[in-house]
């Protein structure tokens, strides 16, 4: 399957799972609303240009916004994620500029376990902080804000772990990590 077709199928899958399954989950607690759709942005290949990344991020966020009826909310959070992804990759993989130009995508195999975990956790935390900050801008309670960011991030990371194990099982760990 060619790369664009694969990406479009993956995009549709992520948005539909988020909009039709995760958003309909009965709330375990008012803090916990798990998000998974932004994993699509994390899994994009290394060699997507930064402007391309921003546009894809905007479209991904806006597609979900149409379902949740919050035009701009998820788009804004995804834009931050898309904007910070490339600098973060360069920061985490300093000597490997050549690899960043290939078509492979961030994974345990291509980045090493610790680096990949750090990469995902940081992007998730940033995405959620911005999302919750915007959502609760009018609410005001700081403790509430921190709590919601923390628990939502935990729930999302758990989902990402499940998605990793389901779709990209670790066959061979990188030797020099």
């Amino acid at each position: 399957m060619s790369e664009p077709v694969k990406q479009i199928i993956r995009f549709t899958f992520f948005i539909l799972v988020q909009a039709l399954v995760l958003n309909h989950m009965p709330a375990l607690h008012r803090f916990v609303t798990p998000y998974l759709y932004f994993l699509y942005l994390i899994w994009l290949p290394f060699n997507v240009s930064r402007s391309g990344m921003l546009i894809i991020g905007f479209i991904t966020g806006f597609a979900l916004d149409l379902f949740t009826k919050t035009p701009g909310l998820h788009a804004s959070a995804c834009l931050w994620l898309a904007y910070l992804r490339t600098p973060l990759l360069k920061l985490l993989l300093p000597g490997e500029t050549k690899e960043l130009k290939t078509g492979s995508s961030p994974s345990v195999r291509s980045m090493g376990l610790t680096t990949y975990i750090l990469f995902v956790v940081m992007l998730t935390l940033f995405h959620h902080s911005w999302l919750v900050l915007l959502e609760w801008m009018s609410f005001g309670s700081f403790l509430y804000f921190i709590g919601k960011v923390f628990f939502t991030t935990l729930a999302s990371l758990l989902l990402i772990l499940i998605a990793e194990l389901l779709f990209r099982p670790i066959k061979k760990r990188r030797s020099n990590s």
Partner: protein
């Protein structure tokens, strides 16, 4: 000039980011203000068709619950039928009057339409419900939405075949309600915390009430007919300052599973608005 373009080129990613970010925040802010946007209309239709397919499947899982609820409502309505009531006086006989047309005939004030719920949220701060009936089926903004258990919300936006309902679980939702005992009116709001509890304000502390009392829609509400079930008082918090209670109300409607709702149109709404506006204008002059 050349340097300026070089600078733009160097900053192009950042500028694109800034531009898109400004667009999304502007969209969010403008939509939060009004909850109506022309460009969202096609989105309601597009996401609506996907949501409809999904809810067609999901509906099978709640069939038993729905049946039970409908049976209960049927039971309640049957109990209201005229045949259930009889006059104690045995000498009175029921006679059919030939002149059935009453000169003081009644005029319809509220028109009810059923609608299927195809999307529903409870987890966010501002929750909306999508129903599959829109402008072409006679739905317009500001119509009231109720289900068998109690009131649900108010229509805020319509497209051709879909309508968006602002649920009671919305931080800007304010409903005029009254206590069944005593008929004191207050305002029902939601603080965005627990989907199982709404807040009722404006009931003076002199009112006699207890946990479990019924809350109904008030007779001064523009959208809702008076006396519809809203919920029951779950907790009474006496605010230390001020002379009003702060009541926690458990909604009669289960917001986690709304499947079918009735949309109520107040046919006098425009007339009432007009006459009230006229009075306001006269007083300003």
């Amino acid at each position: 000039m050349r340097n300026f373009f070089l600078l733009l080129r160097r900053l192009q990613v950042f500028l694109l980011f800034l531009l898109l970010q400004v667009i999304s925040i502007a969209l969010l802010v403008s939509y939060n203000k009004s909850h109506q946007a022309k460009y969202m209309e096609w989105a309601y239709d597009a996401t609506g068709s996907i949501n409809k397919r999904y809810s067609n499947i999901a509906a099978y899982f709640s069939l038993a619950d729905n049946n039970k609820r409908l049976a209960e409502e049927n039971n309640r309505l049957r109990n209201l039928l005229a045949e259930n009531f009889t006059s104690i006086d045995t000498s009175a006989t029921l006679r059919l009057d030939t002149a059935m047309v009453d000169s003081s005939r009644v005029i319809r004030k509220y028109l009810w339409r059923t609608a299927a719920v195809i999307n529903n949220s409870v987890a966010s701060q501002n929750n909306f419900i999508t129903i599959e009936r829109g402008r072409l089926q006679g739905i317009a903004p500001e119509m009231a939405v109720v289900s068998a258990g109690g009131i649900v919300g108010v229509v805020t936006d319509v497209s051709d075949n879909m309508a968006i309902v602002r649920s009671l679980l919305h931080r800007k939702s304010i409903t005029s309600v009254m206590l069944k005992n005593g008929r004191n009116t207050g305002l029902l709001e939601w603080d965005g915390k627990n989907p199982g509890l709404l807040q009722l304000k404006g009931i003076p502390k002199s009112t006699a009430l207890k946990v479990g009392d019924t809350v109904l829609t008030s007779n001064i509400s523009l959208n809702y007919p008076a006396g519809l079930m809203v919920g029951t008082i779950a907790k009474v918090e006496k605010e230390t300052d001020g002379n009003n209670y702060k009541l926690q109300v458990k909604p009669g409607n289960n917001f986690y599973s709304v499947d079918y709702v009735d949309v109520i149109e107040n046919l006098f709404l425009k007339e009432q608005r007009d006459i009230e506006q006229r009075i306001n204008k006269q007083q300003q002059q």
